[in-house]
Amino acid sequence: MYKYDEIDQQIVDERVAQYRDQTQRYLAGQLSEDEFRPLRLQNGLYIQRHAPMLRIAVPYGMLSSKQLRKLGDIAKRYDRGYGHFSTRQNLQLNWPKLEDTPDILAELSTVQMHAIQTSGNCIRNITTDQFAGIAPDEVIDPRAMAEVMRQWSTFHPEFALLPRKFKIAVSGTQQDRAIVQAHDIGMEFYRDTENKVAIKVWVGGGLGRTPILGSVIREHLEWQHALTYCEAIIRVYNLHGRRDNMYKARIKILVKALGIDEFRNQVEAEWLHLKDNPNTITEAELARVAKHFEAMPYESLPAHDASFDAAIASNPAFAAWAKRCLHAHKTPGYRAVTLSLKPHGKAPGDATSEQMQVVADLAEQYSFGELRVSHEQNLILADVKLSDAYAVWEKARASGLATPNIGLLTDIICCPGGDFCSLANAKSIPIAEAIQMQFDNLDYLHDIGDIELNISGCMNACGHHHVGHIGILGVDKDGSEWYQVTIGGKQGNDASIGTVIGPSFAADEMPGVIQRLIDVYIKERTDEERFIDTVRRIGITPFKAHVYADKAVKDNKPEVAHV
């Protein structure tokens, strides 16, 4: 993975000093609450329900064992001994003290980490596929470009204060796993007809209050122009994006208002001036960064391992885990391993300090000392030998990291919700936990098969509910918490936004509602059909009919005690 040189280190160190000074000025009353807000946000510090929340950047989801140990250590000393991995592949601490944050950042800088631009109206952490570099369907490893873009976007002076947050995802696979269509800019790397690396550029996608899938602004962009083309897009947005209404301020609203053709015209006109400027990426610079992402020193191994096959045959629990938590690898004899942060009945995406230490050790011992965070909020050891899989499983299981539910109903994507987040309308974690307990039967879960259930506590959609096969959105009605259900959303190349099935439900109804959706699927599915396939084939009506069968729709509306 990328390792800092003295330039990277100096920037991070100078940032710590700058932020320490800003915090001191705020605590001394020299900066007002309003003036400090954009400064602390650009350093990942929110003021939340109970305490500040600090979001630490994990660039494109890559971590070293050393870094994860430090995160575990920080969580223990400055927080309550756990952290929350987010859908942006970052780590959030829920209980740090504001006065401590400069020290936390100083500690992070010792392991080449920071919290720069993890929040605020600026270019955020760039995300990608958690299997980058090892996926068999990968055409281009996008991590070197993601790093080049990370550096370019860090303190970009022209785009320091945009109308709203700005999220970029990059992907280089046949099957998109980075949801490029749901980002402000999505970059899909591919090889063109001349076998050169090119980029298909999407713009104006996003979830949140107004979910929209992105539009293609350019089918073919030579990779050298990635930065200048982004500059053209963001410049048009910076000048003309709305600043009068924060709910209408994302680039998707501008793209929609202008229409993609007019927006493209403006961007292309701007790009004529920027094209070939010094921010044009050189072969040499890309090669320098790409050296950090060269293939690991893999052993030459056969495609099969006898001890692994024997363990699969004799140990059903291991076999069940292997089926869900091992993933294909480019290199024979290796697998990627997902360590589930979704044990039933626990907050999805949370890891304790002790678990972080365990994962750091596992990565060091079995996976070249590196790991990844997925936007599905799990941890991945990308390079595990088949012959080591059993040992990894045993150790992971002993620490509650081996729930064999990856890609299943209880592998729920979930935001922190109303328990922690001051933006939330409703709690999300208790809903996830209740659903996990409703489906706490592994055989049944495996029978239901591949399905994605995403929960957001408000329309900001941190839990990506719009692209969940089943999406749950917390809504506020007359001061009480209700949940709206969508089905038919999907991430990937054939991404879609889910459809609301009807009036919302009370919290205690939710496990039953999910059960009924699953019942319809089980009844209607054909062989090999996943939940999403059935929804797409038969539409939402049968699901709706069953869920609301014994309830007059009006009964679902919250009742106000007038009598």
Binding site: D5, Q22, P38, P157, L162, N238
Partner: protein, 201 residues
């Protein structure tokens, strides 16, 4: 004491900012309905305001962009004396000034007014003035200008900053040096770091 920074020093302000007269009712462009998305949700200047703008008869004056464009001929001799500068707000478009003045370097000073700290349009405007319109003279930021914008403003081509009256310009000077070696090429140095220095692996 002056709160004006020019080229890393605190200097006296020789310029008088000419304000548009207030209007009874503000006219706002309706955001979302303007095809070009210019001026959305912003105050627009009325013809009456332009006519009624009072410009001091002597001294160096910073004139609102809209007033200059409409009343350019009044200022010909003062322009020749280097007494006319232009100020614009962040929603205004430089093209309208460039349409009446092909070389913006006739102005010794162009100032950009930023109403709110969070309004980052000022950075793009600075960039465009320097790179697109080849403006080489003094470029000033004023309004809600605080020390934590300064590094970005400098990199976007500004070389003068009128720090908000309740804050110390002396202290703000420190922020011009927040970072020694920024990553990307920008107006102050078009070379990204990998073209500036040989980076090790």
């Amino acid at each position: 004491m002056s709160n004006l920074i020019l080229n890393n020093q605190i200097v006296e302000d020789e310029w008088t900012v000419v304000q548009l007269p207030k209007v009874e009712q503000e006219v706002r462009m309706q955001a979302g309905k303007v095809v070009m998305f210019k001026l959305t949700g912003e105050n627009t200047v009325t013809a009456e305001q332009i006519t009624n703008t009072q410009v001091p008869a002597t001294g160096k004056v910073l004139i609102p962009l809209s007033v200059y464009v409409a009343r350019k001929n009044e200022f010909t001799s003062r322009l020749a004396n280097q007494e006319v500068g232009i100020w614009l707000a962040t929603h205004e478009v430089i093209d309208s000034l460039a349409a009446v003045e092909t070389d913006l370097n006739v102005f010794p000073l162009i100032a950009v007014y930023v109403e709110r700290f969070a309004d980052g349009r000022i950075f793009t405007i600075g960039n465009l003035l320097r790179t697109r319109f080849q403006f080489k003279n003094t470029m000033r930021a004023f309004g809600d200008v605080l020390r934590d914008q300064l590094f970005f403003l400098k990199r976007s081509g500004f070389n003068s900053y009128l720090i908000r009256a309740d804050r110390s310009a002396e202290e703000a000077l420190h922020s011009l040096k927040d970072f020694t070696q920024p990553y990307q090429g920008a107006v102050d140095n078009s070379q990204p770091v990998w073209r500036r220095v040989a980076r090790s692996l």
